[in-house]
């Protein structure tokens, strides 16, 4: 952390990375900030609190071809997409890095792996960038996160106004850091500045205490609160779409004549037919079951299963919900309704 990079050098730093790796980084796309592959250093945008949609798509794309086929050929001529280049994911915030660690055990299970997620994860070096500011919806500290947290990063950039303090954490990170070593400048004061910044940002986070909530949720399945809460939900699904820990997907065939592909795409437990089985049986038929399942998953089921929180406090769902259904409100409500 004794080395820094001047902010006016950042584009050049990123271009030196992009010369060898595919660079995935946040860019402005009309009114949104999205992570995109193959971007140039000068286009990278870091002044938003966070990207509009979480960067989980770098590993679990919104829409992904699993394989293509031709049903007229022997053995269906199954072919796979190109494996893709080695990549550097730059600009991911601490909450989203924590989210990756929390969905890793879903995809990289002990019995069944996920070839697509795992391959991308292995081929990617992560450069986290600490938060320069926090939004009124940010509450990462509730789940053990911090605006300057480096968990999950191979290299960490700490935002210090006109410069970044640079911390190389893993060997994977070192290989990438070697590409921009000439931009690194000694700065023995940087660690103290990072510490001060961490304190300042942490004090600005929304204080949300999740202590005891999981234990209340254990016995709250039948609580009438869920019915009340679900009334205003529109089942639009934006919360699940932008969420860094939602991992549900659909698998569909897209075929014309004999040529086709099997793809998987993000799906949402808010959708009408999400649990609708052939024959008409629907295990979560109404808003009540859907909304309850979403919050149970975030605050209880994921913990039960993986001993990891299903929420990292990024605040995107609270920010984007059209009817202001706010998970921090749910957390405090649950404590009151017990």
């Amino acid at each position: 952390m004794n080395k820094i990079i001047k902010k006016d050098q950042l584009a050049a730093v990123l271009d030196s990375i992009a010369a060898k790796y595919q660079l995935i980084a946040p860019v402005q796309d009309e009114s949104t900030v999205l992570f995109k592959p193959g971007v140039a250093g000068k286009d990278v945008v870091l002044d938003a609190v966070n990207s509009t949609v979480s960067p989980k798509g770098a590993f679990f794309p919104q829409w992904e071809t699993m394989y293509i086929y031709n049903t007229a050929e022997a053995d269906f001529a199954i072919k796979y997409p190109e494996e893709g280049p080695d990549r550097v994911l730059f600009g991911i915030r601490p909450c989203d890095m924590m989210a990756l660690l929390h969905i890793d055990p879903v995809f990289i299970g002990s019995k069944f792996g996920d070839y697509y997620y795992e391959t991308k994860r292995n081929k990617t070096t992560i450069i986290g960038v600490s938060c320069a500011k926090v939004a009124h919806t940010c509450f990462c500290s509730t789940f053990g996160g911090s605006p300057t947290g480096n968990k999950g990063a191979d290299i960490m950039f700490y935002d210090l106004g006109d410069k970044y303090a640079v911390e190389v954490i893993t060997d994977k990170g070192k290989a990438v850091a070697d590409l921009f070593s000439k931009f690194l400048v000694d700065d023995t004061g940087a660690p103290a500045e990072v510490e001060a910044k961490a304190k300042e940002l942490a004090s600005l986070l929304k204080p949300v205490d999740v202590t005891g909530v999981k234990e209340i949720m254990d016995g709250a399945f039948e609580n009438p609160y869920w019915k009340e809460l679900s009334r205003k939900c529109l089942n639009c699904g934006v919360c699940t779409f932008i969420c860094p820990t939602c991992h549900c997907f659909d698998v569909v065939d897209e075929a014309y004549m004999c040529d086709g592909q099997r793809v998987r795409c993000w799906d949402t437990c808010m959708a009408k037919d999400f649990n609708l089985a052939a024959g008409g049986h629907n295990t979560r038929p109404t808003k009540l079951e859907k909304v309850r399942n979403r919050f149970m998953h975030k605050l209880k089921y994921h913990l039960d299963r993986y001993n990891l929180a299903g929420c990292v406090g990024c605040g995107r769902c609270s920010q984007k919900c059209p009817v202001n259904l706010d998970i921090t409100q749910v957390i405090s409500d649950v404590k009151a309704v017990k």
Binding site: D114, R262, H281
Partner: protein
Amino acid sequence: MCKCAAENPMLAYPATITKIIEETPDVKTFQMVFDDPQIQENFGNQPGQVTMISLLGHGEITISITSSPTRKGMLEFSIKKVGRVTEIVHQLEVGAKVGIRGPYGNNFPYESMKGKDLLIIGGGIGLAPVRSLIDFVLADENRADYGHVDILYGARSKADLCFKYDLFDTWPKKKDTSVYVTIDRPEEGWDGKVAFVPAYLEELNPSPANKIAVTCGPPIMIKFVLQTLAKLGWQDEQIITTLEGRMKCCIGKCGRCNVGDKFICLDGPVFNLAQIKQMPDEF
């Protein structure tokens, strides 16, 4: 990317349909054999497990294996024509190519059932997953490990009875095996029992002593069977059922078949009633 199903669990192994049995107007049993004999040999399915059957161009469906692993060299799947993909499956003929991936999920606890009498209660297509257990227990090499086997099965009508050859021919001939068949409404040409399965169960009044009950059928039948068994003094640990749910991956990732923190595909589909009572009522 990888080139084989061994590395990528989302990829099915190619198989061929070798025989089709028309069970009812909307149920067919498909016998399938893997194209690679080694995969057939090492598939390792256990009674009660499920697979994903893949039809390229149409999609995948979760189907339980209805044949017992004691029958080597093939797998059987009894499939009801009920949705988009099963409609297509029903149009397939012998020789058609499909994909199979699996086997998935847990299995009927046939080890802990040893030395006990079994009561099998099925309704409609719900007999399909349990048939793998029946044939496993009744197989010559395993028969001595289990006590008396009672099989109670019902369907809406005579035409809707699945596995007639088993119900009326194979199973009744087996040692220490009783088969009780019923249909919902009286009809011409049927001189057997007419009753709903739970009512017939109550009438048969099976003693719970040293027995395990296994039930599968339409949700409404299961609900009343469980009530009836409780009324007859059966304990929750003695009652086993198998759940279903919409699934896309069948390997615990797509997030669809969860009941609370459990995934039917990984932690199920077989649960005993004590376990089910711990789960939220969402299946």
